[in-house]
Point group: C2
Chain length 210, copies 2
Amino acid sequence: MKQSAFISPTALRVLDAAQILIQNNGYNGFSYEDLSKMVGLRKPSLHHHFPKKEDLGATVVERYTERFVLALHEIENTYVGAKEQIQAYVDLFIDTYGATQRLCPCGMLGAEAETLPERVRAGVTAFFEFNLSWLEAVITRGEKSGTFTLRDSPDQAALLLFAALEGAMVVGRGLNRRTAVAAVGQAAILSVLTVKSTQSLQGRRNVSIE
Amino acid sequence: MKQSAFISPTALRVLDAAQILIQNNGYNGFSYEDLSKMVGLRKPSLHHHFPKKEDLGATVVERYTERFVLALHEIENTYVGAKEQIQAYVDLFIDTYGATQRLCPCGMLGAEAETLPERVRAGVTAFFEFNLSWLEAVITRGEKSGTFTLRDSPDQAALLLFAALEGAMVVGRGLNRRTAVAAVGQAAILSVLTVKSTQSLQGRRNVSIE
DNA sequence: GTCTATACAACGATAGAC
DNA sequence: GTCTATCGTTGTATAGAC
C-alpha cells in the first residue's frame, strides 16, 4: 500500500467533493457539473486535475483506503486488547455514518461494481480484502487469547461483521434511520463475539474517517 | 399491500428486464436504450408502457415486494418452527443471490436512495420495514417458545440479520465471491440466534425470488 | 402498440486563448 | 491552472404516422 503521489491543494478539494458525491449519489449518480458547483471551478478545470472520471474515482478510493489503513494502525497503537480493537473498529463506522449519513464510499461502489471502470473496481476489492484480513487477524488473536468465544471460524465472523456494518448503512439510508449503524454495530459485537468477561467498554473515542 | 393493476404481457417483459438492470447496474446505471436492446422494442414503445423512468422503477419495487410478501406467506405455511422459518428466509437470499449474483433490487436502490424519485424511494422504505417487522415477529415468537436465546432485543436481532444479508450481497459483489451471502447467512443464524437444540437443518428447499 | 423522427438537456471530454 | 467555446454522444421524453 504505497503513499499517493503529490496532490495539489486544488486537486484535494476536488477529491473531497468527489468523495462526498460518491457517498451520497454513487459513481453513476454524479457528474463533473455537480462537482463544478461544489468546488467553484469550471468543468474543463476539473478535467485538468483528473482527465477521466475513472482517474477521479480511482483516486478517491485509493485515498480513502490509505486513510483507513492509517486509522487501523492508530487503533492497534491505542488499544491493546482484541475486544477493544474490534470495538474501536466498529466505532469508526458508527461515527463516520452517524455524523453525516453518508455511505462508506467503497460500500456504495461495491453495489455499483458491475458498471465501474476496472481501476475503480479493483480499488474497491482491495479495500474489502484489507478490512476482512485485518478483522480476521484481530478476531483470531482474541479467540486464541481467550478474550471471547466464536460460534464460527474467524474468517466467517470477520465477513459477518463487515457485511453487517456495510449493510447497515444501506438499510439505514433506505429507512432514513440515523442510528442503524450504531444499533447493528453493537448487536454484532454482542452476537458475533461472545465476550467472556462482562465488563462494559468505556473511554470510547470519537474517530471518524473522512 | 394491494395487488398490482393488470399488466400486459409486454409490460411484464419490460419489468423483468428493468429489474435485472436495476439489480446489476442500479437505477442511475441503466437507460431506456439498454432496456430497448434487452426487450427488442424501440425506446418510444417502452415509454408507452412506462411513461417516466420513475413509473418503471416504482413498479419494479412494488412487484418485487408483492412477490416477497407471497414468499414469506409460503414460508409460514410450509414451516412451523421459528428456527426453520428463519432458515428458509435466509435461504431466500442465498438462493436468489447465489443463482445470478444479482443484488436485491431494494438493496441496490437503498444505496442510491439519495438520488431516487420519491415514489421509488418510498417503495424501498416499505420493503425494508416489511422485512424487519416480519423478522422481528418470528424472532420474538422463537424466543418466547424457547427455541433459541437472543443476546439482543428481537428488533436489534432482526436488523442485524437483515443488514448482514443485504450487506453480504454488496461485499460479495465487490469481492467477486459468489458464496458470500451463503457464508454470512449461516454465520448470522449461528451467531444471532443461539439455537438451543443442536439438531441439523435438513430438507432445505430451493426457493428463489425473481 | 409499435414505429420513425426529433426535441432538448446533460453527459464526458477536448481545443486553444489567457 | 483556469477559462470560453464547443464537440460528439447519450440521456429522458414527446409528436405523430401506421
